[in-house]
């Protein structure tokens, strides 16, 4: 049906295409574009709108849940999150518009900028484990310092990582992740390395690099590898600060699935993230890279079960819950790892990406004592994406 070559007959004289066009009295208004002449319903704007409302809904859930908490500096945590959201989205849209005005070849893409703003807030760490650390060390985990940091991350990410990197033809790293990492690098070292968590002496901070148990109650002292009090740690860091529950498997499951306080703002309610993310993947069927999320979650679960058996944990649940449902992992898996620009385009590549991300995340969190390591893992995998894109498993039709 489709011969390999059309043998074009030669022109009789040098009549050019334009000349013939002018010769015709009917031609002056006709539009000529290459095939196809119809287009599917999906556009970039619509993709971004879907993503915007999915992330916004998870952030609203977080705001509602967190409105019960008052931080040591006297701010309502839910209100803090709402203000952060307004700041990041407003600044992102405004800077996108301004850059579009100044640089004529830059696309003004309001919805994309708004999504970027939401992701900046969604991956920001508000009220990190033991807000007392934040107060003591001057780490921006609370208002009003958090507002300035969110603003800096938004502007840096939009200008440097979204616009300037876009000039190079494609983005190499997730703009929100890269900007957060750059700005918070000093703070990150303080707050994310687990050994720092016990600095005030009120936390029992275990390492994941050893057996984990659920037996110890909140407030008991300790720390270091092998300490079987992970449940106590989860309880003290992730539950409502005023409640004094004892670390039972049931209460920890409830915390990790329903209401985490502190940590990544986007991942406060794991169930909300899962519902919003799944709805997004169903709405924008085939346009969103759900394979990354699926393969990441599956491999993380498998890896944590393997580690649980290897270390001889008291039960298989604690480690699994932590690896899968901690705010950084769950929010990143659905909304940051699936960022189209910085991830592979083939289905096989996406699965490789998801598995690689899971392996790096688990390794960083387990052996480097660096909770929230998924962000670092994401940046590493983003940089590997051009290489993953070269992997070609299925050959074309009939080859």
């Amino acid at each position: 049906m489709f011969p390999k070559k059309f043998n074009k007959p030669p022109l009789k004289d040098n009549t050019s295409f334009e000349k013939v066009k002018l010769m015709s009295e009917n031609s002056n208004e006709l539009v000529v574009n290459p095939a196809p002449h119809i287009h599917g319903p999906m556009t970039k704007n619509r993709m971004m709108q879907y993503t915007f409302f999915a992330i916004l809904s998870t952030l609203i859930v977080s705001m509602v849940l967190w409105s019960q908490v008052t931080t040591p500096s006297g701010w309502n945590l839910g209100l803090t999150l709402a203000i952060c959201t307004v700041i990041s989205v407003g600044l992102a849209v405004a800077f996108d518009f301004l850059i579009g005005k100044v640089a004529s070849d830059s696309e003004v893409n309001t919805w994309s900028a708004a999504v970027f703003g939401l992701i900046v807030t969604g991956c920001y760490t508000l009220g990190f484990p033991s807000m007392a650390i934040g107060a003591e060390m001057g780490v921006p985990v609370e208002a009003p310092l958090a507002f300035y940091y969110v603003a800096i991350i938004t502007v840096l990410g939009l200008v440097v990582f979204k616009k300037v990197m876009g000039l190079a033809g494609r983005k190499f790293v997730n703009p929100a992740a890269a900007a957060k990492f750059l700005v918070l690098l000093p703070g990150t070292a303080v707050t994310l390395l687990t050994s720092w968590h016990s600095i005030t002496g009120m936390l029992s901070v275990p390492s994941l690099n050893g057996p984990i148990g659920l037996t110890t109650i909140v407030g008991s002292n300790g720390g270091g590898a092998g300490y079987p009090a992970f449940g106590g740690y989860l309880q003290s860091c992730y539950q409502l600060p005023t409640s004094m529950d004892i670390g039972t498997p049931e209460s920890i499951t409830q915390i990790m699935l329903l209401t985490k306080y502190h940590g990544w703002t986007g991942g406060a309610c794991s169930i909300a993230v899962i519902i919003a993310g799944t709805a997004l993947f169903i709405l924008g069927r085939k346009y969103f890279k759900w394979r990354i999320t699926a393969s990441f979650l599956v491999s993380t679960a498998v890896l944590s079960l393997i580690l649980s058996v290897a270390f001889g944990d008291a039960d298989l649940i604690a480690r699994l819950l932590f690896e899968l449902f901690i705010g950084s992992s769950i929010f990143m898996a659905f909304f940051m790892a699936t960022d189209p620009a910085t991830t592979p385009y083939s289905g096989v590549g996406q699965i490789i990406f998801g598995v690689g991300l899971a392996v790096l995340t688990v390794i960083i969190q387990t052996f480097m004592g660096f909770f929230g390591g998924s962000l670092l893992a994401l940046l590493i995998m983003n940089l590997l994406t051009p290489a993953i894109d070269k992997i070609r498993i299925n050959k074309p039709f009939g080859r």
Binding site: M1, F2, D13, K21, S27, N33, A35, M42, K44
Partner: protein
């Protein structure tokens, strides 16, 4: 095949509209080249009087097909006009209609009862002299396609009645209204190919055509009518072999080497007309559709200027006119362009729909990769082409592209993926 993209058919009204005979044009503009293969030269000169069915352009070459006069009259000029087959102007013979309808000597014909005893060479000669080319859009001379070497046995003949292109209904109406003629045509092709198994492939959505075909082909030997769910992309010959027979034809090989010939219903209709009635290919059914109130199926003379068809149907505010299908067709640079043997449809887009979609930056979503029916990576080929790296495009198998246009259709950034891949493909 779960990854094939469904494209809305948009055929509700047109598929129920009977074929209407469009009056002969006052001036027929017959392009001397409507086939792929060797270049024809005119056999007439200005001032000559020609009659209906007279051969007016031909060349002595293996891969070639002549062109015939659709009307009787006088040759008034030979000039270049926009040719929708090649997307640029080529030589055309202008014939002024004298209204006498004088007919030239018909082709040699054979009686239906004599078909079995007729030599293949004789049948192929009739098909060549009738100027029949692939009417699905490719324009490959049918006499060459059906001249299968004796050492390559053909196991299957697929009669392609899928007509996946949205808006196109010409083939569907032919299947409904010329069913008996199709049966005759299939007998000829089957005889030529050494009695292979015949599968008439059509879509289950063609509710009127399916029972008619089943009824007509009921008593034919070794013949099956298969009405299945086919997507637009499965109207391609290679994709159809995968969908119906379950194998992927090896890329770059002629279709007979896989033991299967796929032939479009419009072509089979033309073969029956030529072999039994002595009619050369001077008219065809073309759908008139798009953003117009009354879609039609027109039996139109090849060489009728498109502007005349639009005028007769009082279509005035066209932003653009597409011939040959919304997905693979060509937007005309001028309405002076005539109907060709490959013009399966004439589709008008209103000014809002015709407006060019502005391409934006690629967001790397990979939708084109998952949508490509032949598993290419359109975005990778596109990036190679815009850098001018045609070697890389070849490594990415750009030459295998079937030009279905699905990648551009699904692209959320409106990138002209299909046209760039086509550029790489045609540069090989």
């Amino acid at each position: 095949m779960a990854n094939l993209v469904h494209i809305p058919e948009q055929k509700e009204v047109a598929r129920k509209t009977p074929i209407e005979i469009f009056p002969d044009p006052k001036i027929a503009v017959v392009l001397t080249n409507q086939q792929s293969g060797a270049t024809n030269v005119p056999l007439v000169k200005v001032g000559d009087v020609v009659s209906i069915g007279q051969k007016i352009a031909d060349v002595q070459a293996k891969v070639s097909a002549p062109v015939h006069s659709p009307i009787s009259g006088t040759v008034i000029k030979i000039d270049n006009v926009y040719n929708s087959c090649f997307e640029y102007p080529t030589e055309a013979i202008y014939i002024e209609n004298d209204g006498k309808k004088t007919k030239a000597k018909p082709l040699n014909t054979i009686k239906e009862s004599e078909l079995a005893s007729t030599k293949n060479e004789e049948l192929l000669k009739i098909i060549r002299e009738a100027g029949i080319v692939g009417m699905g859009g490719a324009g490959f001379p049918t006499s060459v396609k059906l001249a299968v070497p004796a050492d390559k046995p053909i196991k299957h003949l697929l009669v392609n009645g899928a007509e996946g292109e949205p808006y196109d209904t010409a083939d569907e109406r032919v299947m409904i209204e010329r069913t008996a003629n199709l049966v005759r045509g299939v007998r000829v092709v089957r005889k030529l190919l050494g009695n292979p198994k015949v599968i008439v492939v059509t879509k289950e959505s063609k509710v009127e055509a399916v029972p008619k075909l089943q009824e007509a082909f009921k008593n034919e030997p070794d013949t099956e009518v298969r009405a299945t769910h086919l997507t637009y992309q499965q109207g391609d010959a290679g994709m159809m072999q995968k969908a119906i027979l379950g194998y992927e034809p090896i890329a770059g090989k002629r279709s007979y080497e896989m033991g299967t010939i796929v032939q479009n219903v419009a072509t089979i209709n033309a073969i029956a007309n030529a072999v039994f009635d002595g009619e050369p290919l001077i008219s065809r059914v073309a759908a008139l559709n798009g953003d117009i109130p009354t879609p039609k199926n027109l039996m139109v003379k090849i060489g009728t200027p498109i502007s005349e068809i639009l005028k007769a149907n009082s279509i005035t505010d066209c932003g653009s006119v597409v011939v040959g299908g919304m997905m693979m067709g060509v937007q005309l640079a001028t309405l002076d362009a005539p109907v060709t043997k490959r013009t399966s449809s004439i589709l008008c887009l209103n000014k809002a729909h015709a407006k060019a979609r502005k391409p934006t930056a690629c967001i790397h979503c990979g939708r084109c990769v998952s949508a490509c029916p032949i598993r290419l990576q359109p975005v990778a080929i596109y990036n190679a082409v815009i850098k001018g790296d045609f070697k890389k495009a070849e490594k990415l198998w750009a030459q295998d592209c079937i030009m279905c246009g699905t990648c551009s259709y699904v692209c959320p950034a409106n990138l002209p993926l299909a046209s760039n891949v086509k550029m790489a493909r045609n540069s090989q």
